[in-house]
Symmetry: C2
């Protein structure tokens, strides 16, 4: 098996070698800019890992892997407009540095470029690979729409929330892996098990993110703790707390949701309510359950354990991250 650092290097080199026209600069500069902001490059690495797990030459999957990364960055560019986000990886977002129109159009161009890259997959796999890619892409749009819908909805169930993060975040991890598997020539059953491994891991990963946002170490987590509480984001924690709370605890939770002028007190008080109701434990139980399902899908694939090890190691490392 090719070690993870070597796969990461392949991805970073590939991104460096992507070449886009210079003009019109307002179309292509934002594209180069957002791709230069870094990030873990987890998704393209997953595509290479998916390919490697089935013993095929990962170079065959490199264009598709880069396409997945360009697609991911396209969604970030458009999401940042919709979320009115000023910063991305501590740098100004594209619509802030340029303007919204440029971020819309440059994002559109990125999506086209991502298609072109994925289309460079080998002939035998190009159609099933594109099927996974476009299905995943439309689901990511659906997830983003649900996320926006939830902001103005009074009632969101835990299941609706899980479905939203599955679409918005997890299917792209599963899709990235499955694309690599298809390019390696994996059969449908094996490719689908790998997909389900990625999707379940992705949902677990997002639940961990929700937990870290409240209970993480601010220094290690790399962003302000309590951001979700301050914005009343309907995360697994808040929805669980709203379900479990009753009496004065519920009154107190509802009161704090409506407070916006005492940020520190709000984070502290809502966190206390979460502790009182053991919502962290409940979130961790769900996270572990999903993690176990993910691993069981990986275990169902009839390839040598050595081929699964990098994926298991990655999964384990994702689940204890502090940032």
């Amino acid at each position: 098996m090719i070690p993870l650092p070597r796969l990461q290097e392949l991805v970073l080199d590939g991104i460096k070698q992507l070449s886009f026209p210079n003009e019109p600069s307002a179309l292509y500069d934002p594209l180069r800019y957002i791709l230069s902001l870094g990030g873990k490059r987890m998704r393209p690495v997953l595509t290479l890992m998916g390919c490697n797990a089935f013993g095929a030459d990962v170079n065959a999957a490199l264009p598709a892997a880069l396409g997945v990364e360009v697609f991911h960055n396209f969604t970030l560019m458009h999401d940042d407009i919709m979320d009115n986000a000023p910063l991305r990886r501590s740098k100004p977002t594209v619509h802030t540095k340029w303007n919204s129109n440029i971020a819309i159009l440059s994002g559109d161009a990125m999506f086209v470029e991502s298609c072109r890259l994925v289309m460079q997959s080998p002939n035998a796999s190009v159609r099933p690979v594109m099927d996974v890619f476009t299905k995943t892409a439309i689901e990511v749009c659906e997830g983003q729409q649900l996320d926006m819908d939830f902001e103005s909805m009074d009632e969101v169930s835990i299941n609706q929330y899980i479905e939203m993060i599955r679409l918005k975040t997890a299917v792209l991890l599963g899709g990235a892996l499955k694309i690599g598997a298809i390019i390696a020539g994996a059969n449908d059953s094996d490719a689908n098990h790998l997909y389900d491994f990625g999707v379940n891991l992705g949902v677990a990963f997002q639940l961990q993110d929700d937990i870290l946002d409240v209970f993480g170490d601010a220094d290690k987590f790399g962003k302000q703790v309590g951001g979700d509480i301050l914005s009343n984001k309907k995360t697994f924690l808040l929805l669980t707390a709203l379900n479990k709370a009753s009496g004065t605890t519920k009154d107190s939770l509802l009161k704090w949701i409506n407070v916006s002028d005492q940020p520190q007190e709000k984070v502290k008080s809502v966190t206390q309510i979460y502790n009182l109701l053991s919502v962290r434990e409940q979130a961790e139980a769900k996270m572990n359950e999903l993690y176990d399902v993910a691993i069981s899908h990986l275990n169902s694939i009839p390839i040598p354990d050595a081929n699964k090890k990098p994926l298991k190691d990655l999964a384990a490392s994702l689940m204890v991250r502090q940032n």
Copy 2:
């Protein structure tokens, strides 16, 4: 040859049978809405005509034709946000009826759906068809960016303007035809001649649009005459006038460009200057030149004259349109 009305019927039936999920409604309702607003459906008809000209079954090209139409409507949805346009075909634009975020995301979803449709092309042609589709898509983005760039540029040359409308409008007509030709099994040379026919016709068509905006019959043209003059749009006419004018005529033209509070007088005076400088004649000469180039490309294709006739008839009808 299949008569034009029959091809139009095939396209309209195909659009009617397109099926998208109901939920999330804020993602898919705008998509259904913009596709329901009508329009000439010229681009998908061109794809079927391109296929039919080479004697193949047009049903093989129908999914790609519909993909081209969905793509075109995606660009309209995003362009309307960027142009801050309140109306599209006399109905509220998507970002007006819903909001900008919904128009961004629903447009993204339309682009994915257009890829899925184009990917339904027959196996033998799917890769070259997607190559044309993605190349065209990125060029349309480039054209829209140039159009926005031109608004704030002091100097735009006639050649830059022609290149902008080639990218923004014409390549999609050429691309639509070429996709049909490829699906029919046309060779590269023939497919490229058909592409060049479409591109030259498209630029000529846009120049006619510029002319009609100033000199058209308001009732037949279906929109306010003089809109381009009022918005100081750098069309072929204005750029030619700025090139040709000198002395007091130039002073007068520059003065009127800066006037915004006397719309009727502005349209009247700038039109008089255009007449004085014979810019209409110059635009028509360019338009006719491009039209002739288009026809010469069509004539270069070694297929029976009967196969070319529908395309020649369509080209002729486009060039005398009053709306």
